[in-house]
């Protein structure tokens, strides 16, 4: 019975690959876009991105357990009440979802790039804009999806920074505490 598997992480075949130049260009594009967009769009896209991340993490066993626990608490009712009173679903309707997790991961990779200085020196051409074929009508941004997205997004940031700390040369390493909270309480 095979109890091990092998997988590879690769670049999407029809997309820009992850290189120092493309990651830098992507970060620069995000910052430049801020000049041509409104605060509502930025917050709305971020909320949409968090909600999408929340929907995705809810498909995993761990995410589903956390979601069930949240849904069983008063948090869900109060959150949805606030969501409804502030008409969040209304003003965020149709907002494109920002890939918030990819942003964290790409920015982290930039911090570890060996060739960052020379890449910045020879400023790369901005990446071409991408046409999103499949997500013309984004899903509604619900409170519980956004809450789940905030959970996984913040955990990703904590784990990323801890991973950076671990990547320090031997002798300078400070072992961070385990950030994964698990136990029978949410089982």
């Amino acid at each position: 019975m095979p109890n091990s598997a092998n997988i590879r992480l690769i670049d999407p075949p029809e997309d820009a690959g992850r290189t120092t130049a493309s990651l830098f260009a992507s970060l620069a594009s995000r910052l430049i876009t801020l000049h041509y967009t409104s605060g509502v769009s930025v917050i709305g896209s971020t909320l949409a991105g968090l909600a999408e991340a929340g929907r995705e993490i809810s498909k995993t066993a761990e995410g589903a357990r956390i979601r069930r626990a949240l849904e069983a608490s008063a948090v869900k009712d109060n959150g949805e009440l606030l969501w409804s009173a502030l008409r969040v679903t209304g003003w965020t309707e149709g907002m494109p979802a920002a890939p918030v997790l990819d942003h964290v991961r790409n920015d982290l990779a930039l911090l570890l790039a060996d060739d960052l200085a020379e890449t910045i020196e020879n400023v790369p051409a901005p990446l071409e804009n991408k046409v999103h074929h499949s997500k013309t009508v984004p899903a509604a941004i619900t409170f519980i999806d956004t809450l789940m997205g905030l959970w996984i997004h913040s955990r990703e940031i904590v784990q990323s920074i801890e991973a950076l700390a671990r990547s320090a040369p031997d002798g300078n390493t400070v072992e961070p505490g385990d950030a994964v909270h698990s136990g029978p309480i949410l089982r």
């Binding site: 019975m1 095979p2 109890n3 091990s4 598997a5 092998n6 997988i7 590879r8 992480l9 690769i10 670049d11 999407p12 997309d15 820009a16 690959g17 992850r18 290189t19 493309s22 992507s26 594009s29 876009t33 769009s41 709305g44 995705e56 993490i57 498909k59 995993t60 066993a61 761990e62 589903a64 309707e93 907002m95 494109p96 979802a97 890939p99 997790l101 990819d102 942003h103 991961r105 790409n106 982290l108 990779a109 930039l110 570890l112 990446l127 991408k130 046409v131 999103h132 997500k135 013309t136 984004p138 996984i152 990703e156 784990q159 990323s160 991973a163 950076l164 994964v180 698990s182 089982r187």
Partner: protein, 193 residues
């Protein structure tokens, strides 16, 4: 008579009714326009490079365990990208043939890791089955959270414990030696000592 649609009252004049209809139309039009513009904004946007999981052909995980038991597996992840990648393996809920869903208690070690270019890392998966777990074959997948496409199929067979050879020998010995005889034998040996 005051006019209020919401409270079911009668309009005071046709002109007032027309104005209300017109303002409602303008409001709907502006909302629809905003939604359209947002969708348009979503169609074209800056590229954010991502990561795809490529499953090595034939890679699958099959585990066998008993209720209350534990099973272990490993997932080897290789980073073929030109920059560092964060890897957070997770499993999906496992579903049996009868439709029962198991939100398995799992732990990956390490839970997350930063992989440099061409680095390969082994993630150990420990799966715990509850003691009252119904037997059956549960299917799901191991996925790398935040990466698109590939998953590794995961099949867990939960079966009752088959008696071990030692347990069988003990049972046979118990049958051959009645309880009273065993008790006498034990008493003798205690006296002798």
């Amino acid at each position: 008579m005051p006019h209020d649609h919401d409270h079911g009252s009668v309009p005071s004049s046709p002109f007032e009714e027309l104005m209300k209809l017109q303002s409602a139309f303008q409001q709907s039009l502006s909302e629809a326009t905003m939604q359209y513009l947002r969708q348009l904004q979503g169609i074209v946007g800056p590229v954010t490079p991502g990561t795809v999981v490529q499953q090595v052909e034939g890679s699958t995980i099959e585990l066998k365990m008993r209720p209350g038991g534990q099973a272990k597996a490993t997932v080897n992840v290789e980073n073929r990208q030109r920059v560092h990648s964060m890897v957070t393996p997770m499993i999906t809920p496992l579903v049996s043939e009868t439709g029962a869903t198991w939100f398995a208690q799992t732990a990956f070690s390490p839970p997350t890791a930063l992989l440099a270019t061409d680095e390969v890392l082994e993630f150990a998966l420990v799966l715990d089955a509850p003691a009252d777990m119904p037997v059956g074959v549960y299917r799901g997948a191991v996925m790398i959270y935040g990466c698109s496409d590939g998953v590794v199929p995961l099949e867990v067979t939960v079966a009752k414990t088959t008696r071990t050879a030692a347990a069988k020998r003990k049972t046979t010995a118990d049958k051959k030696t009645p309880a009273k005889k065993r008790a006498r034998k034990t008493a003798k040996s205690t006296k002798a000592s």
